[in-house]
Amino acid sequence: MKRLILIGAAIAALLTAPASAEPATKILNASYDVARELFTQVNAAYVAQHPGVTIDQSHAGTSKQARAIVEGLEADVVTFNQVTDIAFLAKNGFVSEDWQNDFPNKSSPFHSLPSFLVRAGNPKNVKDWDDLVRDDVKVIFPNPKTSGNARYTYLAATAFAQEKFGGDADKVKAFIGKLFDNVPVFDTGGRAATTTFVEREIGDVLITFESETTGIRKEFGEDKFQSVTPSVSLLAEFPVAIVDKVADARDSRELAKAYLEFLYTPEGQTILAENGNRVNDKAVAEAFKDKFPAVRLVTVEDVFGGWDKIQAEHFASGGLLDQLYGER
């Protein structure tokens, strides 16, 4: 019996041993599904500056990531493409309530916007959101019910229509309804919509994040497609946060903070911009200005009054999106 207790104690000691007093030199960054290439470059640059540090990466849809973290995935930091998924973490006590004040630009080191990709030469002469409701234009974007990417598209188009019709709700609804009518197939995710547009060659315009269009052109041919930036679009934030619960348990806060701050440095911002993301650093933005045509960006807060309101009015079951989508 005594021996059993001793063995048990030894095993327990072994299992709990790693919780030492040394600050962590290794963190896990849980990120969105199409950020592999981007964070491979970011992490390599960060580690080059800070030898001895390891940054692990996990990639999946950010709703799935948030769920996994709540269920025990030990990510020290999150770099997401949806504000609502960090809000979910905050609601569950994994991230501080005022996480958006922890880092500059509401904790969003880079941003993007729903933008257009058209076939080479822009045969249908698509310039702005107006053109998407023309009878001769077929538009491709995924199903807003299942894709965060498409929700941004839906919101950006709505923001455009609200400005154009001076807030006339019926006209806005008709505009969005016409836009939906011009979509021949709604895929479930952004990648599937890309396949529909690029490989099945369906549609005249693909709407997706501007940051994605860079990758698509690189993969499928720079000469086959060209980007078109609309006159106005919706600011899509790529928020970051420290996962307090994990960082405290693993004593990794210092490293986590330094890593996320690196994204705001000129070196970090340059890597982000090279991968098709718009950044706020003045000098870097100036250096890449040819790559990012001028566009007026409106925010979710200004146009729609925040994500909670959007959720209730547009995306809740029976909301505006359901009404429009159901009419099809």
Partner: protein, 297 residues
């Protein structure tokens, strides 16, 4: 006069030259379209960016780790499920006990449940918000988002494979031989290794091969519990998806071709083993499961 002693075989369904040819042709065409052409595409696409690019993807540490993790998972999950499958088939076919039918149903559940459901169920059992999650965390034991979770999910999905291959065969073979062996004084283990195992080995082999192929290829359940950490918990199927989503089509196909190769190697190993054994003990059981009760090997 009695019926002429014709050499003609009794007419069977589908035994005309036309039907025969069209049937064979149909199967070949569908097989080529459904199975062969996608397989070919995988390899063509994998090399579409050149051999150097293919090599770079395969030799990338993340890919190598994914291959290692997938093989490690199979090395744990397949033996455990094989032991479980044999034990379950033995219990169901050689013993009478209350709940036998229920056990049969329970074994088959993973067949009919979608793997994603299995993954989510594991979340609810071992997750931090789940049944055992908080206790496990307090003891600093990691199940989810680590190797144990991946192995458990893979084992759940493939639990029926071996048992399902064995049960019909062992049922058909009956208990006579085992009873004879026991009455002659053989111990339980002796009976198993000298009587039962030789009788079931082809079905067992087939079950193990299927189980292995599925463990290596499992996506849905593993995707939920893996945490998708590159170079740590990304199995080969998950790695394929990651590369594909990242607009690395050639890379995704290169990783996919590795997965396909692993599967092909398994099947070739099975064929070779069969051939070796077929010379000695007649045709393999899986080609035509022994129909007669208590038939000798």
């Amino acid at each position: 006069m009695s019926t002429p002693p014709s050499r003609r075989k009794p007419p069977r369904v589908g035994d005309g030259p036309l039907i025969r040819r069209s049937l064979i042709g149909f199967v070949l065409v569908v097989g080529a379209l459904l199975v062969l052409s996608p397989l070919l595409v995988i390899f063509v696409q994998a090399f579409s960016a050149g051999t150097a690019a293919f090599k770079a993807v395969i030799l990338h540490p993340d890919t190598l780790h994914a291959i290692g993790l997938t093989v490690a998972t199979a090395l744990i999950a397949v033996p455990v499920n094989t032991a479980f499958g044999i034990a379950a088939a033995w219990a169901i076919t050689k013993f009478d006990f209350p709940g036998r039918r229920l056990l049969l149903v329970v074994i088959e559940i993973p067949f009919s449940i979608s793997p994603i459901v299995a993954g989510v169920a594991y979340l609810f059992v071992y997750g931090l918000q789940g049944l055992f999650g908080p206790a496990l965390q307090a003891a600093d034991v990691k199940i989810l988002f680590a190797l144990p979770g991946i192995v458990l999910a893979s084992m759940f999905v493939t639990a029926p494979f071996v048992a399902r291959e064995l049960i019909p065969l062992m049922q058909a073979q009956g208990r006579d031989l085992e009873e004879a062996a026991t009455s002659l004084g053989a111990s339980g283990w002796r009976t198993f290794f000298s009587v039962t195992l030789p009788n079931i080995r082809w079905a067992l082999l087939y079950g193990v091969v299927l189980c292995n192929a599925r463990v290596m290829g499992e996506f849905g359940a593993v995707s939920v519990v893996s945490g998708n950490i590159r170079g740590q918990t990304n199995t080969l199927p998950l790695h394929v998806e990651l590369l594909y989503h990242d607009y690395q089509t050639a890379g995704a196909f290169a990783a996919a071709s590795t997965l396909t190769l692993l599967a092909i190697v398994t099947i070739i190993a099975k064929v070779l083993l069969e051939r070796q054994g077929a010379g000695r003990s007649g045709r393999p059981a899986l080609a035509a499961p022994a129909p007669a009760q208590g038939s000798k090997p």
